[in-house]
C-alpha cells in the first residue's frame, strides 16, 4: 500500500521520471510497482483512441482445439489410473506404489503374447508417453504470428540459416578490417574440428522441433562449412559449438582390463560370456606362451571344419600374436561355426590387454571387437525355409 501511495505521488509530481520508468525494464519491486501504476495512469490521461478487444478466428480455433486436447488427455489419464488399479488388484500389490515397471511385468504375466514384434504385444503406458506433445500457439490473440518467418512454414530452420549468414558476414567484416591493419588470425586459437561433426539431420530436427528436407539439411551443412572455413571462426565458437557433436573414438570408450598373474608367473586374462548365435564361451589367454590352443580339453582339431579353424586363428594372426600366447577356451551350445565365432570374439577381446592402442583401433576397424548379433532367421510358412521357396513348376 505504501508503495502505491509513493507511486501515485511520483506520478503527480514528476511526469518525465515516470515516462523513463515506463521505458526502462523494471528490476526491483519498487520500480515494478511504479511502472505498472504509471502505465495505468498514462493510459487514463493521454490516449486519443481506444481499441475494441478482438479475438481472431485463428486464436478462437486454437483455444477450442487446446481445450478439446486437454479434455481428451484428462479422460485418458483417468482411464490409465483405473487400469493401473485393476492390474495392481489382480497382482495383489498396492495400487499406490505400483510403478510402470510393475505394470509391464503384470501385463506380460497376465496377457502372455507370442507375437514376434515387441511393438505388437499388449502394453499400457501413461498417456503422456503415448500421445506426443503438441506445439503451443504460434500467434497472439489477434492472430499475428510471433515469428518473423512464420509464413515459410519452418521458421526455426530458416532463422537458423539467417543467423549463420549473419555470423559469416560478421567474420568476413572482421577479416577485412584485420587485413587492412595487417593483423593475422591467431593460429593458437584455431578452431579444432577433428573429433567433431555437424549435428546429423535427425538430431538437428529435434533441436529445431521441425522436420526438414534433405536439400534443406545440405543447405545447412554448406553454410556451416563456409562459416567454419573462415580463418576467424574461433570468434564464433559459441555459436558453432551449438551444432557440433563429438565423434566417439569407440576403442577409447571401452576400458581394457589389466592382465593378472597366474601361479606359474604368466600373465593371463579371461573373457567370460563370449556369445555368438546360441554358443557361449569363456576364453583365457596366457602370455608368454607357445601357441598352444585347447578347446574343451582338445586342441584345434576340436573343429573339423577348416573354416572354423581359420576363424579361430584370425585374431591371433591379425595382431601378430600367433605362437606367442596360449589359448584356453570352454565352449557350450550352438554349432561349430557359432562356437568358433564365440571363441574368436573372446580371443580378440582378451588380446587387447597384450597389444598397443594402435593395434586395438585397427582390430576395431577390422570388426574383430564387434559383437555379431545375427541370429537364425525363422522359417516361414508356405516356404521351405527362411528364404527358400518350395519347388514349383507351372505344369
Amino acid at each position: 500500500m505504501a508503495v502505491r501511495v509513493f507511486g501515485v505521488n511520483l506520478i503527480k509530481t514528476n511526469r518525465n521520471l515516470l515516462q523513463n520508468a515506463c521505458k526502462t525494464p523494471a528490476t526491483t519491486f519498487g520500480h515494478t510497482a511504479v511502472a505498472q501504476l504509471a502505465t495505468e495512469v498514462t493510459v487514463q490521461a493521454s490516449p486519443a483512441a481506444v481499441q475494441k478487444q478482438k479475438v481472431s478466428k485463428a486464436m478462437r480455433a486454437y483455444l477450442k482445439r487446446a481445450n478439446e486436447h486437454d479434455e481428451f488427455m484428462k479422460t485418458q489419464h483417468l482411464e490409465f489410473q483405473i487400469g493401473k488399479r485393476h492390474l495392481a488388484n489382480m497382482m495383489g500389490a498396492d495400487a499406490e506404489t505400483f510403478t510402470q515397471e510393475d505394470i509391464n511385468e503384470a501385463i506380460s504375466y497376465l496377457f502372455p503374447s507370442g507375437l514376434y514384434d515387441p511393438k505388437a504385444r499388449p502394453a499400457m503406458k501413461s498417456p503422456e508417453e503415448v500421445f506426443p506433445a503438441r506445439k503451443a500457439a504460434e500467434f497472439d490473440e489477434t492472430g499475428r504470428p510471433f515469428h518473423s518467418m512464420f509464413y515459410t512454414g519452418k521458421p526455426n530452420f530458416f532463422q537458423l540459416l539467417h543467423d549463420i549468414v549473419e555470423e559469416t558476414r560478421k567474420l568476413a567484416d572482421l577479416e577485412e578490417r584485420m587485413l587492412r591493419r595487417g593483423n593475422k588470425p591467431d593460429e593458437n586459437q584455431k578452431l579444432e574440428m577433428s573429433g567433431f561433426q555437424l549435428l546429423p539431420k535427425d538430431q538437428l530436427e529435434l533441436v529445431l522441433v521441425e522436420s526438414i528436407a534433405d536439400i534443406e539439411y545440405s543447405n545447412f551443412t554448406n553454410s556451416m562449412d563456409r562459416l567454419i572455413a573462415s580463418p576467424y571462426a574461433y570468434k564464433s565458437k559459441a555459436f558453432i559449438e551449438r551444432f557440433l557433436k563429438p565423434l566417439l573414438d569407440q576403442s577409447k570408450q571401452l576400458e581394457v582390463p589389466k592382465p593378472k598373474i597366474d601361479e606359474q608367473g604368466r600373465q593371463f586374462i579371461t573373457t567370460y560370456e563370449c556369445l555368438r548365435k546360441t554358443a557361449r564361451a569363456d576364453v583365457t589367454i596366457r602370455l608368454p606362451g607357445t601357441g598352444k590352443i585347447s578347446i574343451n580339453g582338445k586342441d584345434i582339431s576340436y573343429f573339423e571344419d577348416e573354416n572354423c579353424r581359420e576363424q579361430l586363428l584370425f585374431p591371433l594372426q591379425f595382431s601378430e600374436m600367433l605362437g606367442k600366447v596360449d589359448v584356453e577356451a570352454n565352449v557350450e551350445g550352438g554349432g561349430p561355426s557359432g562356437q568358433a565365432g564365440a571363441i574368436r570374439w573372446g580371443i580378440a577381446m582378451s588380446l587387447r590387454s597384450f597389444v598397443d592402442q594402435e593395434m586395438i583401433e585397427s582390430m576395431r576397424l577390422a570388426g574383430l571387437l564387434t559383437r555379431d548379433y545375427r541370429r537364425r532367421e525363422r522359417k516361414k510358412f508356405g516356404q521351405e525355409g527362411a528364404r527358400r521357396k518350395y519347388t514349383w513348376k507351372k505344369r
Binding site: T39, P47, A48, A49, T142, G143, F146, S148, P155, F158
Partner: protein
Amino acid sequence: MLRKSLCNLSRFGQLPGLSRRLQSTQPEQSAETEPEDIAVIEQRILKHPDYFQVHNLFTVRDLFNARVHYGHKEGSLDDRMRPYLFGSRLGHLIFDLDKTASHLRDALNFAAHIAFRDGIIVFFNRNALNAHLVEQKAQEAGEFSHTRFWRGGIFTNANVQFDAVTRLPDLCIFLNTQNNVMAQHTAVRDAAKMAIPTIGIVDSNCNPNLITYPVPGNDDTPAAVELYCNLFKEAILRGKRERRQLLGLPPLDESQPRRSRKPKK
C-alpha cells in the same frame, strides 16, 4: 479495387470544405477530448492524401543514386511495362523515375495505412543475393518475410499447411515478382486469388497485371533493394508509431530487431 478506392479517397482529401484537422499534415492531439474508437480514426485518416508524410521519405535523386532506373535488356521487355519507360540506352531500358516515384509513394502510403491498422505485412524476395537483407529489414520493421522456396498452398490451403486456422497476411510486398527470369512468383497469383493486396517492384521483364500497387523499377541491384526495404520499413514504422501513440501504448523499441515476441517451446 482497393487501389481504386484509395485513389478516390486521396482526391477527396483535396476537396475544399474539409475540416482543418483533416488537411493538416500533423495529427492534432487534445488531451481533453473523449477517446474515440480507433476504427473511426482509421476511417477518417484514409481521406487524407498523405497522412503519414511518406512523400518526404525519398526524392527522385535518391532513386537515381540507388540505380532504380536500370531495366533489363530491350529483348526481354514485357509489353505491359512499356508505359513506365523513359527510353533505352546502349540496349538497356531505362525507367521514367518520375512515374516510379509517384507509384512508389502510393505504395508507401498504402503500406503505412495497413501497418496503422495492425495488418500483417509479408516481404517476399526470391533473389538469393538480397534474401538476407530482406529478412533483416522485415525483422526490424516487426513484420514478416518469405524469401525461400514457395510451397504451394500456403495462402490457398493455409489451414492444412499450418495444421490450424491461420490468419493470412493483409499485405504482400514483393521486392521482386519473379521466381527466376522465366516464371512469376506463385505467391503473386495466390495473393490475387485470396484477395490479399500486393505491392510489387516490377522490372521491365515482369508482368504487373496481378499486382495491386506495381512500382516500376530495378529489382536486382542490392543498392536498389536496400532503398526499397528502408523506405517500406520506415513507412510501416510510421504507421505503427502513430497507432501506438493514439492508443497511449509505450513506443516501440526499435534499437533491437525483434525476431519473435515469445520464445518458442
